[in-house]
Amino acid sequence: MDKFKNLKSIPAFLPLMNIDTDMIIPKQFLKTIKRTGLGKSLFYEMRYDENGKIIKDFILNNKPYSESKILLAGKNFGCGSSREHAPWALLDFGIKCVISSSYADIFYNNCFNNGILPINVDENIIQELSEYSKRKEEIEINLENQEILYGNKSTKFDLDPAKKKRLLEGLDDIGMSLEKTSSIDNYENRIKKNKPWIVRNDQN
C-alpha cells in the first residue's frame, strides 16, 4: 500500500446524506476479479444516463472536480454493503480523502486498507468547506498534524493512532499479523484442548 502523503486539492461536494456503496459503485461492476479500473464507473448511475452518456451537471463530470482528490459528503457515508469495490473505485478515480460527519463502519475500515483517509468533522465544518468547493479553491490535508487547512483557517480532526500510523507508513497488515504466528499457534493449541468442536471434526 502507498504511504499517505499530504494533499492539496479543490474538494468535490456531494450534498447528500446516506450515500450508500451501491451508489458509489453499482453491482454490475462487482463482477471484476481485479482491484483496479473501477474509477470510470464511480457513482455510475449519477454520472451516466441510461444510454451511457455523461450527465453534464453531475459534479465529478466537470473540471476541476473531475480531478478532485478530496470528496466532501453528507452524513453516514458508505452505508450498505461491505464491497471494497467502493474504496477501490474512489481511489482509482483519484480520491484519496473523504470528509463527512459520519461513516458506516465497514466502509470506514475498508478505506484504511487502501490508503484512503476518511475524516470525521462536524456538519458546520462540512458546510464551511463546501464553500471552498463552490469557489473552486484548494484545501489542504495534513495527516501528520491531523489538520485540514483552508483559507487562513484550520480544523483538527480525530483519528485512531493505529490507523494513522498505517496510513503514514503504508503498512501491510497481513505481514504484521504473520509476525504474531506464535501467538496464533498458542491460541489454536488452547482451543484444540478447550473447545475441540471448533476444529472441524466432521472432516476427521
Partner: protein, 466 residues
C-alpha cells in the same frame, strides 16, 4: 465483573492485545463467495502466502448465479469468470466449495447455519455485510472487506477494535400478522440507519425469545441496515435443538462439551450496556418502506410522509429525492401504491419457514394479472424441502415463478432485475436507488405482505387476506 454476551465472545477470541490498542481476534468460521474473494486469493498468490486453516473456510457461489435452468452453465461471461475463479481458487488453496450444481449450494448466510458450520459462541466473518445474520445463533458475526478476507485466509485472525454494547429489548407480544421482518424494520425506523454505528446490538425480550431461530435470523440479518456490524441473540433451547444432527455440528462427546459451553452464552445479570432501548411488540404493525433508505418505514394502513413536515433540512432534501425516485406523492395512501413485481427470497427471507408462510397465504389464490411474481429459495436444500412439502406446486398454481437458489433480485447481479420505474414488493433488505436494477423501485416487506401485494396488485395488508 458481569459481562455482556458480546464481551464474553470477544474475550474468548483474543489472540493478542496489541500495544496500539487494536486486538488480534481469532476467526472460527470464514464464509466466502465469488464476488468479494477473487482479489483476496490473488493477493495471497502475489505474496506467495498460504491459507492458514483451509478447513475453517467454506465457499459457495451465490451472488451472480442464474436462478433459471442451470444445465447450460452461466451465460453471462463476467459472472461465469467469477464463479470459475472461485472454483479454481478453492482447488488451489484447499478450501471446501459447494459448487453451482451441488444441492447444498445457496445463499452464503443460509447454508452456514443449515450445515452446522455456523455455531453459537464462534466468531464468523464473510466478505458480505449480511454476515450479521449468523448472530441469531449467538455467534459474533460481521461483514468484512476483501483486504480483510485476505487477512483471515492468511492468518485466521482479524485486527479489530472493540465496539460498544447496545441492547434492544422487544417486549410483550406481536399482534397477528406482524412478523420478525416488521420488528427489524420498526427498529431501523426507530434508531435510523446510523443508529447502531459503532455498536454491536444484542436483541432481547419476550418477543425475541418467542421467535423461531429462522425468524431471529431475519432480525440479525438487517442489523447492518441499522448501522451496526453485528447483531446478537443469546442462544437458547431452540438454538441447541436447531443444531442437533446437522452435518457439521459437533458430534458425540464434542456435542456434550459444546452444549455445556453454549449454555454460558448470555449477558450476565447486572452487566452494563452503553445504550439500551425498549420497543413494545404491541406497537408494531405490518410495515412497508416508502423511500430509498431502510429507515423510511410506514404502516401499511398509513400514508406516504410529507417532507414539508420534516424539520431537519438535510433529511427533507433526502425525502424529496426519495419520493421523486420512487414516483410517489406525499400523503398518498400506502395501499394505493400499485406494484409490478414481487420478489420472495434473499438471506433475509428465503428460508423454509418464510416459504411456508408465503405458500399458506398463496394457497387457492391467484397473483394479479398485472404482476410478475417470483419465489427464489435460499438454498438447494430449502428448495428440496419446499418441493417435498408441495410448496412449489402451491406457488406455481397461484402464478408465481419457482426458481433455483441464489441472491437473485435482492441485488440484481444476475438476470433477475427490475427495469427502470418498475415497482417491486420485495422480502429483501435494501431499497437503495438502483439496488434491484437501475431506476427500479423497491418496497421492503415481509413474505406475507409480499403475497398480499402479489394478489391485490397493490401494496396490501396481510391481515386482510389472512
Amino acid at each position: 465483573m458481569p459481562k455482556t454476551l458480546y464481551d464474553k465472545i470477544w474475550d474468548e477470541h483474543l489472540v493478542h492485545q496489541q500495544p496500539d490498542g487494536t486486538t488480534l481476534l481469532y476467526v472460527d468460521r470464514h464464509l466466502v463467495h465469488e464476488v468479494t474473494s477473487p482479489q483476496a486469493f490473488e493477493g495471497l498468490r502475489m505474496q506467495k502466502r498460504k491459507v492458514r486453516r483451509p478447513e475453517l473456510t467454506l465457499a459457495v457461489p451465490d451472488h451472480n448465479v442464474p436462478t433459471t435452468d442451470r444445465s447450460k452453465g452461466i451465460l453471462d461471461r463476467e459472472s461465469r469468470i467469477q464463479v470459475d475463479t472461485l472454483r479454481n481458487n478453492c482447488k488451489e488453496f484447499g478450501v471446501q466449495l459447494f459448487d453451482v450444481n451441488d444441492v447444498r449450494q445457496g445463499i452464503v448466510h443460509i447454508i452456514g447455519p443449515e450445515q452446522g458450520f455456523t455455531q453459537p459462541g464462534t466468531v464468523i466473518v464473510c466478505g458480505d455485510s449480511h454476515t450479521a445474520t449468523h448472530g441469531a445463533f449467538g455467534s459474533l458475526a460481521f461483514g468484512i472487506g476483501t483486504s480483510e478476507v485476505e487477512h483471515v485466509l492468511a492468518t485466521q485472525t482479524l485486527i479489530q477494535k472493540k465496539s460498544k454494547n447496545f441492547r434492544i429489548n422487544v417486549n410483550g407480544k406481536l399482534p397477528l400478522g406482524v412478523t420478525s421482518k416488521d420488528v427489524i424494520l420498526k427498529i431501523i425506523g426507530t434508531i435510523g440507519t446510523a443508529g447502531g454505528t459503532g455498536y454491536v446490538i444484542e436483541f432481547a425480550g419476550e418477543v425475541i425469545s418467542s421467535l423461531s431461530v429462522e425468524q431471529r435470523m431475519t432480525i440479525c440479518n438487517m442489523t447492518i441496515e441499522a448501522g451496526a456490524r453485528a447483531g446478537l441473540i443469546a442462544p437458547d433451547e431452540k438454538t441447541f435443538e436447531y443444531f442437533k444432527g446437522r452435518p457439521m455440528s459437533p458430534k458425540e462427546n464434542n456435542w456434550d462439551r459444546a452444549l455445556t459451553h453454549w449454555k454460558t452464552l448470555y449477558s450476565d445479570e447486572g452487566c452494563k450496556f452503553d445504550k439500551e432501548i425498549n420497543i413494545e411488540g404491541k406497537d408494531i404493525e405490518p410495515l412497508v418502506t416508502w423511500g430509498t433508505s431502510p429507515q423510511d418505514i410506514a404502516p401499511i394502513t398509513g400514508i406516504v410522509p410529507d417532507p414539508e413536515k420534516e424539520n431537519d433540512e438535510e433529511r427533507r432534501i433526502a425525502m424529496y429525492r426519495s419520493l421523486e425516485y420512487m414516483g410517489l406523492k406525499p400523503n398518498m395512501k400506502i395501499s394505493d401504491i400499485k406494484v409490478d413485481m414481487i420478489f420472495i427470497g434473499s438471506c433475509t427471507n428465503g428460508r423454509i419457514e418464510d416459504l411456508r408462510a408465503a405458500a399458506k397465504l398463496s394457497k387457492g389464490r391467484k397473483v394479479a394479472k398485472s404482476v410478475t411474481a417470483m419465489v427464489v429459495p435460499g438454498s438447494g436444500l430449502v428448495k428440496k424441502q419446499a418441493e417435498e412439502e408441495g410448496l412449489d406446486k402451491i406457488f406455481i398454481e397461484a402464478g408465481f415463478q419457482w426458481r433455483e437458489p441464489g441472491c437473485s433480485m435482492c441485488l440484481a447481479m444476475n438476470d433477475d432485475k427490475l427495469k427502470s420505474k418498475e415497482r417491486c414488493a420485495s422480502t429483501s433488505n435494501r431499497n437503495f436507488e438502483g439496488r434491484q436494477g437501475r431506476g427500479g423501485r423497491t418496497h421492503l416487506v415481509s413474505p406475507g405482505m409480499a403475497v398480499a401485494a402479489a394478489i391485490q396488485g397493490y401494496l396490501a395488508d396481510v391481515r386482510e387476506i389472512n
